[in-house]
């Protein structure tokens, strides 16, 4: 029977709880984060409650919830939030699905596998800036490779200006983001797959389990902690990612491809209003924290692993 031994993990954990060890082991991570991130983070959060515009140095004061009132009154906000959800759901969903399939496909040896892996994982190593520039060009209506092929194949009569169409322009950015992010899931899931002991599969095969049974009864339950953690982390990371949007569409046309961080980016440097931008940042922090708590609860992460 393919059961994992997480129950034991908990028991093992308990036995060792007395010592200072866990704190010591965590200390380097906590210290370096505290030294370099604590001040900027706290500063960023406090600024959300200040009128803080760099262009008005004589006019800085505690403003209570004024910045938040401004945000709520912003007619663009509902659209931005909707875009953010679409952006995260589609990007992470596709990255996960494709990455999982890729990892399964790579979980067996075949000739040329090393070379294949080196190529397929390579997008992960390309700078976001270069990815944005290349995809922006490839999606161009006049001289873009994608439109060139679409026209050649007779799918469209003339180039489609993907990046200029409201409510369409976000999808090319998602494609670029998926291209970039599939290797991450691929690598992480493959690493997890590699650590499944083979004897579990062997005994399952003796019991007559087919490929699909093995996948759903052994593989997925076994790597569930990794799946949960990678999805959790990627959602946060993708939600907080603005660079491809900034390069490919700059949020346009008319904010229809803006997500929350790219919107903040476009607001902050022209207004120098770090108060409102910080309030938007704080809103993002709250949304993602709520998401994290719900996600951990729904996925029963407490039972799957002990964090």
């Amino acid at each position: 029977m393919p059961t994992t031994s997480h129950a034991k993990t908990n028991a093992g954990g308990k036995r060792r709880s007395a010592a200072l060890e866990p704190y010591l082991l965590l200390a380097p991570a906590v210290l370096i984060l505290a030294a370099f991130f604590a001040y900027p983070l706290l500063k960023g959060i406090t600024l959300a409650f200040y009128h803080y515009v760099l262009f008005e140095p004589q006019n800085i004061y505690f403003a209570g919830l004024d910045n938040f009132k401004k945000i709520v009154a912003d007619p663009n906000l509902p659209l931005i939030l909707r875009n953010s959800v679409l952006w995260v759901a589609l990007t992470v969903g596709l990255q996960f699905l494709l990455g999982f399939v890729l990892a399964l496909a790579l979980n067996k040896t075949f000739r040329g596998k090393n070379l294949y892996q080196s190529v397929v994982f390579l997008p992960w190593a390309v700078s976001g800036f270069l990815i944005g520039m290349m995809f922006k060009w490839m999606f161009n209506a006049q001289n873009g490779l994608i439109n060139y092929w679409l026209v050649k194949a007779g799918i469209v009569a003339k180039g489609v200006p993907f990046l200029a169409l409201p409510h369409v322009s976000i999808f090319p950015v998602i494609v670029a983001m998926v291209w970039y992010g599939v290797p991450f899931f691929g690598i992480m899931i493959l690493a997890a797959l590699q650590s499944i002991p083979h004897d579990i599969y062997e005994s399952a095969e003796i019991d007559g389990a087919g490929s699909w049974t093995k996948l759903f009864k052994i593989t997925i339950p076994y790597i569930k902690p990794t799946l949960i953690v990678t999805v959790l982390l990627r959602v946060i990371w993708v939600f907080n990612s603005a660079d491809l949007i900034y390069i490919m569409t700059n949020g346009g046309p008319a904010n229809s491809s803006d997500n929350l961080p790219s919107y903040i980016l476009s607001q902050i440097f022209n207004t120098s209003d770090f108060g409102v931008a910080s309030a938007l940042g704080l809103l993002m922090l709250v949304l993602l924290t709520v998401y994290t708590v719900i996600f951990l609860y729904v996925t029963k992460y407490e039972d799957a692993g002990d964090i």
């Binding site: 093992g12 370099f36 001040y39 990371w237 994290t292």
Partner: protein, 280 residues
């Protein structure tokens, strides 16, 4: 009998198809980057799209190597990336082990704080971080990038690491413990070798995260001496002109170290090693 065999072979067919499709999907942008890198300026800017250059040239590569500081950027990138990802790795292994193997007060708080650092847009913390580095005299200096990339990558790597640790049965460690190994020996002799695929994956993550980072690089570095590859690539986009040829050439060249790194670490993600260790 027949249907069962067919069903069993179906995954094989899927597998081959999936591998092929992925390859195509992955290769297209690289192909375009490469083709651009061997075209002349006029051809790149002509209104006619060519799938292979009419006039083939290596000039973009030569120019990038000779007329820009690319070799220097390269060295800086390697230094920053290797140092920061090794630090990240060590800290994440320690922290990840702690998070997965111990029960202690404040663990959930630590998890949430780690995640929290990733939930704020970098823009918000830019100015305070800038002030911090300027006070520490670290601006325009590779150390500012090493520190930033280390701090940036620790939360993800540490949490990922702990999720990998969770899948290693505690029984294994307990057995070693009974055999007379102390905690450190157990960790170093039993657990870490088992974790190699995970360690490699985490290293790759930290490596690429640092290798690609552009924004902080641009903000913290002013002089030529400490610039990294992404900044160098961004320099090819001038106010009005984009030097597509050299930018693509630089992009292709910047992939070489990463490919070498991938090739070097891949053999550690071989199933044999893990399997043997578990059995032995």
């Amino acid at each position: 009998m027949m249907t069962k065999r067919l069903l069993d072979r179906l995954p094989e067919v899927f597998r081959a198809a999936a591998l092929l499709l992925f390859l195509l999907f992955t290769v297209v942008p690289f192909y375009w980057m490469f083709v651009t890198s061997i075209k002349t300026r006029q051809e790149i800017y002509s209104s006619e799209l060519t799938l292979w250059p009419k006039q083939f040239t290596w000039a973009n590569y030569v120019d990038t190597l000779h007329n820009t500081q690319f070799p220097l950027y390269f060295a800086n990138s390697v230094l920053v990336t290797v140092v920061s990802s090794l630090i990240v790795l060590v800290i994440s292994v320690m922290g990840g082990y702690s998070m997965s193997r111990y029960r202690f007060r404040g663990k959930k708080a630590v998890l949430l704080v780690f995640l929290g650092t990733q939930m704020i847009p970098t823009i918000i913390i830019l100015v305070p971080l800038f002030i911090l580095f300027s006070k520490m005299n670290m601006l325009d200096h590779l150390s500012s990038l090493i520190v930033t990339y280390t701090v940036m990558n620790i939360p993800f790597c540490l949490i990922t690491m702990s999720s990998f640790f969770q899948r290693i049965p505690v029984a294994l460690e307990e057995a070693a413990f009974i055999d007379g190994c102390n905690k450190w020996q157990t960790m170093l002799l039993i657990v870490l070798p088992l974790m190699l695929p995970a360690i490699v994956a985490t290293f790759v993550f930290a490596f690429t995260g640092a290798w690609n980072e552009l924004f902080f690089g641009i903000m913290f570095i002013n002089g030529e001496a400490a610039k990294t590859i992404p900044i160098g690539l961004n320099n090819f986009v001038q106010k009005f002109d984009i030097n597509w040829g050299q930018m693509s050439a630089g992009g292709i060249m910047s992939l070489i170290p990463v490919m070498i790194m991938f090739a070097a670490v891949q053999k550690y993600i071989v199933s044999g090693l893990t399997q043997g260790a578990v059995k032995g």
